[in-house]
Amino acid sequence: MVIANDPLAMLLLKQDVEAFLYHEANLLDDRRYEEWLDLLTDDVRYWVPMRRNVKFGELEREFTREGQDINWFDEGKTTLTQRVRQILTGVHWAEEPLSRLSHLVTNVEITEATPGADDAAEVSLRCRFIIYRNRVATETDILVGRREDRLRRVDGGWMIAQRQVFLDQNVLLAKNLTFFF
């Protein structure tokens, strides 16, 4: 589970993981939703908490809690699949016509690799994202935040086992969240 004792292995692992993240972002931006679903493990956890303004010293209360509170998203593959199916009905008015999306993924850091960097079966990473959404004529949203992912190697490729998304907003400025982070 470590890092850094083999710099070359880490570099290669990071390259490998980044390539996966860009590929994933492309699938979402290219509206290849079913292929995107195939990148999620069956036990995937997808959590996007809401974010409160709290007093200094009480930051542990900043985010709504996974599995306990109301969150923007707090679900597994079943609900994520329903979201995709909804878009694919063609009558999901909030995404009809489809939005134009660009996912920018940056500041990628691997925080854990198990059992090791050179033979990682599972990787935890932290990154930043910018999601630009433009739809209909002039409607535009820019969502920025931090993401913490856990990837698992399955049949030689990476799959997403966990995604946690920490949005830099309190009152959500977008009227909906019809897309995936």
Binding site: V48, P49, M50, R52, N53, V54, K55, E58, R61, T64, R65, G67, Q68, D69, I70, N71, W72, F73, D74, E75, T79, Q82, R83, R85, Q86, T89, V91, H92, W93, A94, E95, V136, E139, N170, V171, L172, L173, A174, K175, N176, L177, T178
Partner: protein
């Protein structure tokens, strides 16, 4: 040509006789400014739930109309609502969403206020104010009227407003279904942590009228119905208990409140729902039996979405929740969403509901995403110089409502439109805009409490 709106103008903007409402009342900034004065400083508004401030010192920052207010339980355990603005220079004394505090200290000049709003600390009180400042006169501005009805905290800025229960009138039956336990036990509900807050680019009245009784917008939800996210795996809600039921739209036009509901037949029995989980299914089944026992014929009412004038809407059953449509300019609404569960429900039930609420509601909810798209673009397409010359049509079901509804011995208060065959009607919306017009034109609560003059029951 500049349009000036006098109280008399409002009857032309809301044309009751012809079932039409001018688009101006949704898009005009002068009318919007008038609404803040005439509606939001006079009506009873929903502020929060007592379970959000369960301990002394707990606070929750809420909103009444455009203005920030603090809901707080003081050291003695009493609940208060006050304006979140320092009396010295107006700074927001609390910029947190919620928490617990012994005191609110203004970050600008340091005036501090106790949890009951009293001014207790003034820097340089001796030297600069020569101890002559009367602190008792400069506490945070408290709402003159506040009530805790079954856990829901409501407030109004108008000291002459009628009591909350008079304001609600016969609509109380439906509000009770929201706040009582599912088994009918009084006030047995609590809020799940996490209040959804988001912006919708639309006038606040679009969602308010949608929730008050728009059965006509099923096409909006076609996609979620195809996918099936309901608690029994189909549609967006359980509909099994509507077998043989009448569809009724209930309006209290003299108050502006309204709801849609289904009335089960006299011989109806509890039916299975929440079929995705046996523990949850059993819980609700037992609750239905207990409620039937407790409420008798009132149990026949299957309450649907409703709105309490002006901007509090709710879904009393699935997903059990409250929405407040805070006005943020004529073209923007800040939506706040609270979710309720039975306090005494087992953890499995609370968890099941929490997941259902999340996938149904709010900006990430599969159902409500499509609503917001419609409100957004209906509003946007009504703003133009040409568009606003034309009224919206609210004529559906005009002339078909009754005021003496009775079915199998069960009498219902209010104006009732039977939409069983018709499937939709717009009397609730007409009732809402009737009340809107009255609020915009009336001088004071003596004029607004029309039911007193008409001698009907409060």
């Amino acid at each position: 040509m500049a349009i000036t709106f006098q109280p008399s103008s409002y009857s032309g903007l809301v044309d009751q006789d012809n079932g039409m409402v001018s688009r101006e009342i949704f898009v005009n900034s002068d009318i919007y400014a008038e609404e803040q004065e005439r509606i939001f400083t006079r009506a009873w508004l929903f502020v929060g739930h007592e379970s959000q401030v369960s301990k002394p010192g707990d606070f929750f920052v809420s909103s009444m109309g455009e203005e920030s207010v603090i809901l707080c339980r003081d050291r003695q355990g009493e609940i208060h609502v006050f304006l979140n603005s320092c009396m010295h220079r107006g700074m927001k004394v609390c910029r947190y969403d919620e928490g617990n505090t012994p005191i609110f200290t203004c970050p600008y000049h340091g005036w501090s206020f106790a949890t009951d709003g009293a001014l207790v600390g003034v820097p340089f009180y001796k030297d600069a104010y020569h101890e002559e400042l009367d602190k008792s006169q400069w506490g945070l501005i408290r709402v003159p009227r506040m009530t805790n009805y079954k856990g829901g905290i409501w407030a109004t800025w108008d000291p002459n407003a009628p009591d909350f229960l008079e304001y609600i009138g016969g609509f109380r039956t439906y509000l009770d279904i929201l706040f009582d336990g599912w088994d009918g036990s009084e006030g047995g509900t609590e809020i799940i942590g996490g209040i959804e807050k988001w912006m919708v680019p639309s006038n606040w009245k679009f969602p308010a009228e949608n929730f008050i009784g728009d059965r006509y917008h099923n096409i909006s939800h076609r996609s979620v119905d195809l996918v099936g996210i309901g608690p029994s795996g189909q549609g967006r809600r359980d509909n099994s208990d509507r077998e043989g039921a009448k569809s009724l739209d209930v309006s209290f036009p003299e108050r502006g409140h309204g709801t849609v509901m289904f009335l089960r037949p006299e011989d109806a029995q509890p039916v299975a729902s929440y079929q995705n989980d046996p523990i949850v299914a059993d819980y609700f089944y037992q609750c239905e039996i207990a409620r039937k026992e407790r409420q008798g014929e009132l149990w026949r009412i299957l309450a649907g979405p409703g709105t309490i004038f002006p901007n509090m809407s709710f879904l009393p059953r699935q997903p059990r929740s409250i929405a407040v449509w805070h006005p943020r300019g004529p073209d923007q609404t800040e939506v706040w969403r609270w979710f309720l569960v039975d306090s005494s429900a087992p953890p499995e039930v609370k968890e099941f509901l929490r997941q259902y609420y999340i996938r149904y509601s709010g900006p990430a909810g599969l159902t409500e995403q499509d609503d917001m798209e419609n409100w957004n673009y209906a509003h946007a397409a009504s703003r133009g110089a040409m568009a606003r010359r034309h009224h919206y049509n609210y004529q559906m079901g005009m002339g078909y409502a009754v005021t003496d509804f009775e079915d199998g011995g069960l009498k219902l208060e209010g104006t009732v439109l039977d939409t069983t065959k018709a499937r939709a009607g717009e009397q609730n919306q007409r009732g809402f805009y009737n009340r809107w017009r009255e609020f915009m034109a009336a001088r004071d609560w003596d004029e607004l409490a029309t039911w007193r003059k008409n001698g009907s029951a409060c």
